[in-house]
Symmetry: C3
């Protein structure tokens, strides 16, 4: 097995999680679902439950809001759902300091992905709706952009999911965008 990093990005309800799950099932028989959600309200809980019922019994679920690298998943196919919640948790743990949070996320990412496995990171594009009037939202938008760019730069494949359609924007074979 060779190490492989895949990133799946898109907007809310774009179908990115569904596509990432299909991809994980195709790439491994017993994929691992790493849930990064922490803070729960009823609306959110319902969404998590919908996601869970969609996945089958072949999945192993790990709940990990912060320290992805605590889990040695060598040889497995791992779906990390999602980077946005992982970044949110890290951002609040770092006292809403986006630079400190980015340092922690980058260090965790490098450590976590140092082992040979297939990693599928699901993330969100949140910066295409104009600048927020809320300074906290602006700082988080910066953080989300920075971690997305780090993961994308390390990824072998990147997909942008639009209305359920996966558009491959980076692959091992094409870097001829320029």
């Amino acid at each position: 097995m060779k190490k492989k990093i895949i990133m799946v990005t898109g907007g809310q309800r774009s179908g990115k999680s569904e596509f990432a799950e299909e991809l994980a099932m195709r790439l491994g028989e017993k994929p691992v679902y790493m849930a990064t959600a922490r803070v729960m309200d009823k609306e959110f809980e319902a969404r998590v439950e919908r996601h869970r019922s969609r996945r089958g019994p072949q999945w192993t679920t790990i709940e990990e809001p912060l320290l992805l690298s605590r889990h040695d998943l060598t040889g497995r196919v791992v779906l990390i759902d999602c980077v946005t919640l992982w970044a949110t948790n890290t951002f609040f743990d770092a006292g809403e300091d986006a630079d400190a949070a980015m340092n922690r996320l980058a260090a965790e990412f490098e450590e976590f992905t140092s082992r040979t496995a297939t990693y599928i990171f699901v993330t969100n594009e949140i910066g295409l709706g104009g600048v927020s009037e809320n300074p906290l939202t602006r700082r988080f938008t910066d953080l989300q952009g920075n971690i997305n760019r780090l993961i994308a730069s390390r990824a072998d494949e990147v997909y942008l999911v639009v209305s359920g359609i996966p558009v491959k924007i980076k692959s091992q074979f094409n870097n001829e965008n320029l």
Copy 2:
């Protein structure tokens, strides 16, 4: 004539309506413009008028905020502008219940597109700007994502319009994104 479903999506002022109109004119001599707008204020009225004056006399206009399938447009080229207003009307008619609204939209869509015609659906990507603080907006964003995904999954062609440039993200010949 074979049945054909085309979806044109994009952000606000991306040029998606203009592109869809060009497409309709190319595909049929006397296209039908199905306007789904209902609630009107002055700002909105001015926009509708701008759109109307841009289209020529060869167009037939039908105003239909909810029940697309009431209109039998067999053999015609029909531009539905837009899915977002149709979904908004259906959402409010369903008491802001997104699941009920989705059921109605899905049933209407299947019935409407059961006849042999060329359908061009114009819709919006609204989920790429981060999660709204307004629960109503969040529910509508989910609904918009779900109906977009349904239409895209049935479509022969899907275009994402960015700054006036139509990017074909699904076609009858390429499903080789994977």
Copy 3:
């Protein structure tokens, strides 16, 4: 030297400025950085400083919030960063009248790009997050969409940057999107 117009668009923190700078360095030895920022607060000043320190001593910097065409940059490679700030300044100078602002931007754009040079315009996609409740934001979103479409229609190349990945959506050789 032939005239060339390139547009680089994307969301906040998508890496569009970094990509545009790389492009400028590849296309010319002594590129010109045209900064369109005017209103400054501390947060913004820090961002400008970060951008400046990233660029090297080979760059010439011009600060021009409004009248791009005052500068004759014949034969140079010019990076305009960014269209959004230029449009914002013009919008407020035009008393928040989006139509008047668009007329001024269009006239400035045509005059500025009438000389033979390589122009790289950095801009933002801001219309993919749903309709704002703020009428001023809605009018500006329209203006941004209109100026983006004008520049894209004149451009030889357009890139959409997503999570740091430049996706070429228009080129001199492909207009086969249809």
